[in-house]
């Protein structure tokens, strides 16, 4: 296969970027999308004309959440429920032109080329995405039974890999799906109950201060989420938030 790439090149956070054309020849359909970039980068290094393309990636098995390419107008490319690293070239045709851009959001500034800074997510978790239990304080794991349905739902929310595709997909660059996944997971478990009010209030406040847009329920986040995190989590976040504002001593 031969592929025409248009890749966003940007030297660093301060400089302007632009799309640059590359032709990659002899692509195998069994290659992953990132492996195609490896091939291209090796070529760029060997030729010595252009610097290799910087992009984030690590586990390459769809779980670490580091890879983050915006491919032909969609985060993680054309397939449903898949990260960029799990996208394979058999999903494209010979001669295709593919536009590759970084996640774009004020809260995710570009570091270089396709790599962006997603530390805003870490700060949101640090503001409340946890259960305050010091090591050694825990009671026996089976002392609190949890209904299987709740445990399963909490798990489905907890499957979020923090890749930021939701923000990238959303026309408002909203991070509601990410925040809601964590709030949901902990709201569904009895262990998370004692801090449910402060958690949701603090996490929403932090989310707003990071410069993400507001949710307008387009559903793009969930449709593009590689872990298919459901929109019901956003509804639950809304419930949790208004319940905390209206029904608790906290604000």
């Amino acid at each position: 296969m031969n592929i025409n790439l248009k890749v966003w090149r940007q030297k660093n956070g301060k400089s302007q970027g632009k799309l640059v054309d590359y032709k990659v020849e002899g692509v195998s359909p069994d290659m992953s999308f990132l492996e195609m970039f490896d091939v291209l980068n090796d070529r760029l290094v060997s030729e010595g004309k252009d610097e290799p393309i910087a992009f984030d990636h690590d586990c390459r098995e769809g779980i670490c959440g580091m890879c983050s390419m915006y491919i032909n107008g969609r985060p993680h490319g054309p397939n449903q429920g898949v990260t960029t690293c799990q996208l394979h070239m058999r999903s494209f045709k010979d001669g295709d032109t593919i536009v590759v851009e970084p996640w774009r959001a004020a809260a995710f500034p570009v570091i270089k080329d396709l790599a962006v800074d997603r530390s805003a997510f870490d700060r949101i978790i640090a503001s409340g995405g946890f259960i305050s239990v010091n090591t050694g304080n825990a009671q026996d794991a089976n002392s609190l039974p949890i209904a299987k349905d709740n445990a399963d739902e909490a798990f489905a929310a907890a499957a979020c890999i923090g890749c930021g595709a939701c923000v990238a997909a959303c026309k408002n660059s909203s991070s509601m799906l990410f925040v809601s996944a964590k709030v949901s997971q902990l709201a569904l478990l009895p262990q998370g109950d004692p801090e449910r009010n402060t958690r949701v209030l603090n996490m929403v406040a932090q989310m707003d201060s990071e410069g993400f847009g507001a949710c307008t329920n387009t559903g793009a986040c969930s449709a593009e989420c590689p872990k298919e995190i459901s929109l019901t989590n956003i509804a639950r976040l809304n419930r949790e938030y208004f319940a905390a504002q209206l029904g608790s001593d906290r604000s």
Binding site: G73, G213, A214, T216, N217, F242
Partner: protein, 263 residues
């Protein structure tokens, strides 16, 4: 900051305002629709005109209507502000953007759709509401036969200032034995005349299409914002949102100008 301002200034709180005002406006649409159906009655507009009087004089309705105007303004300007605010969250746009792959067109264009509706509301209100309240609306005298309810109507020459004297009321009913004589502000005639204008009819139809798409997303979106998303009830919410608000109501409203244009 106290908790109320804190809540309503958060991104979720602002959405809550949009949802609550939006649903309130939806409830008005139903009332407005039901009332306006009287335009289709073959009574030379009597029922419609009576309804218009009722809507503008009943104290409860009057109070509600001020709430409604406030809601319209709030919903519209908050919505526009949010659109600009949300745009700031992505200062550099994508070169390639495939929105249709993951979301419905209407959900991505609520601002545009809402603006069309706002323009429409302004035109609509200035055409009818403003005219009715402050402008020049003709009067009509209806003579209703008490026995068989048969009816005749005569427009009152509004240029005859003497005759008009004493008619500060919008509606006067004089029982005259065999017949009732009813003199009423004839909004119906304004409607009839107005909808002979092609551009106005076109604007109404475009606006109702916009309303349809706006509510297609807006209705169920409001429930999502309120946190009401549950597989047991989503079917009903979708059914009402699409069936009633995105299809029936816009079609009903659009039928009115068309009806008068063709009539």
């Amino acid at each position: 900051m106290n908790w109320i301002t804190k809540m309503f200034s958060s991104s979720l709180g602002q959405k809550l305002i949009m949802a609550l005002t939006g649903l309130f406006l939806c409830s008005f649409l139903i009332i407005h629709m039901v009332g306006n159906l009287q335009l289709f009655k073959h009574d030379a507009g009597l029922a419609f005109n009576k309804y218009a009087v009722f809507m503008t004089t009943n104290p409860l309705i009057k109070t509600t209507s001020y709430l409604l105007y406030a809601a319209i303004l709030f919903h519209a300007f908050k919505g526009i502000a949010l659109v600009f605010q949300n745009k700031k969250a992505r200062p550099v746009k994508y070169q390639a953007f495939d929105g249709k792959a993951n979301s419905h067109w209407s959900s991505r264009n609520m601002g545009v759709l809402g603006t069309i509706i706002l323009v429409f509301v302004v035109v609509h209100m200035s055409n009818f509401w403003w005219q009715y309240k402050f402008g020049h609306v003709p009067y009509t005298k209806y003579t209703v036969n008490v026995g068989d309810n048969s009816l005749s109507s005569i427009p009152i020459d509004v240029t005859n200032e003497d005759y008009m004297k004493g008619f500060t009321e919008k509606l006067v009913v004089r029982p005259l034995g065999q017949v009732d004589e009813i003199i009423v502000k004839d909004l119906y005639r304004s409607v009839e005349l107005g909808f002979k204008e092609l551009w106005l009819v076109a604007l109404y139809i475009i606006a109702m299409a916009a309303l349809s798409f706006h509510l297609y997303h807006g209705f169920k979106s409001a429930f999502q914002t309120l946190g009401l998303n549950h597989k047991k009830y989503n079917g009903a919410i979708n059914f009402i949102g699409i069936g009633v608000f995105a299809i029936l109501i816009p079609i009903g409203f659009a039928a009115m100008p068309l009806y008068f244009f063709i009539k």
